[in-house]
Symmetry: C3
Subunit: 170 residues, 3 copies
């Protein structure tokens, strides 16, 4: 009788532990996705091309309305060359606003705004060049979460920027 009770109690504890472990893993995934996405701005404003590259999958696509970068190597090269290096030299900040994260198994979506601020040449201030809608699509890999695709569209009234933001919770 005691054995049977112990056995049932043990099964309950095992099930509760498994359920709680799943919930903790879900929280860890959100934090891990946030960690990757929030590392982009500092790395790109540091001009650290290798660090930027480590955030993406090999075959990642960075689809900016101005240009599409295909594969990690093109993204790394973007950081190393003009015009990005010119922006860094004159002074700039690539900022995000708080990242909305949605994880589904081994995939995740992070939605937010981005701002590119540039230093004014003639005075002690910055001006806002671009404010964009952003959707990061990430995948879980052996080494952690990586960005597989980032789509950014400037918020100038165009439908594509609004559609991208409209997918935030879906």
């Amino acid at each position: 009788m005691a054995d049977r009770t112990n056995h049932d109690a043990a099964a309950t504890v095992t099930a509760q532990l498994a359920a709680l472990t799943q919930r903790v893993r879900a929280l860890e995934d959100v934090e891990a996705v946030r960690e990757v996405v929030t590392a982009y701005g500092p790395a790109v404003d540091a001009g650290d091309a290798e660090a930027v590259g480590r955030l993406w999958t090999d075959d990642a696509v960075y689809d900016l309305d101005l240009k599409v970068f295909t594969g990690r190597e093109e993204i790394v090269e973007m950081v190393r060359t003009a015009p990005h290096q010119d922006y860094l030299a004159e002074g700039c900040g690539h900022l995000l606003d708080p990242v909305h994260v949605r994880v589904d198994g081994d995939e995740a979506v992070a939605t937010c705004h981005s701002m590119l601020l540039r230093r004014s040449s003639d005075e002690d201030s910055f001006w806002v060049w671009r404010v964009s809608a952003n959707r990061f699509e990430l995948v879980r890999s052996e080494g952690g979460w990586l960005i597989r695709r980032r789509t950014a569209r400037v918020l100038d009234g165009r439908a594509s920027a609004r559609e991208l933001l409209g997918r935030v919770r879906s």
Copy 2:
């Protein structure tokens, strides 16, 4: 004797599981509040009035210094009409800075700044119309956390904006 030891050990495990479950729930609540608050900007810049509406309780109040919207329907209507639709058409971004979250049982407070950036008509840039102090008050409902009240005050030196931010950790 073994039974009694098993019983004590089981009671300890049950208590530890319950305590840990409470801590996980507290973390989940913070994430859930953050999820709702960070969904607002994308939804409103998408012009998705229904998605904006789903973030609020039926009787929610959005108390902006310019105007007070009472009830979800007035908030939804705000998104659907001028001047909001004009801002979207010319290009705009409703951004937050990182949200400070405080949960107390079935209620929560989220404090942050907001910015409303608008596209310049004559050049390739944006200008900052408003920078405001924000306090979101949320409640846990059957379907998850919802905004019951948002108070926003432009940071133009007025005492009400400063008082609102001064309540951040209280």
Copy 3:
């Protein structure tokens, strides 16, 4: 035999609980660090010098490129006096972008951008005075996490700002 099985099962459960508790504590630490860092902007724009002071250790250093404040008292005094009080009176916002958090035992690093926006005197808008690279170094204390050092460097192309951001994930 049943006792031995029970004993093994109990040991497994205890080990799993301990491991899960560690993971929960790691998540709590990230949230706690974020809570402290995101409380700074609201407190400083509220002009609440005591609340600002409570975020730092006694011997904290706030190393801004314009000036270095040494010890909590100097930081509190900065909030109470000019020019900070002048910025508040004319209207300003001290904003961050999403905080990248790294915890290592009883120490933590938070990296992000900051913006100081000020209200224009002649029109209904704000201008961006400074966009800076930020590194917050925090320590776990009896009363929770506190800022021990904040280093900020304006992003005007200087190497020190870029180097600071380059340490984001290291």
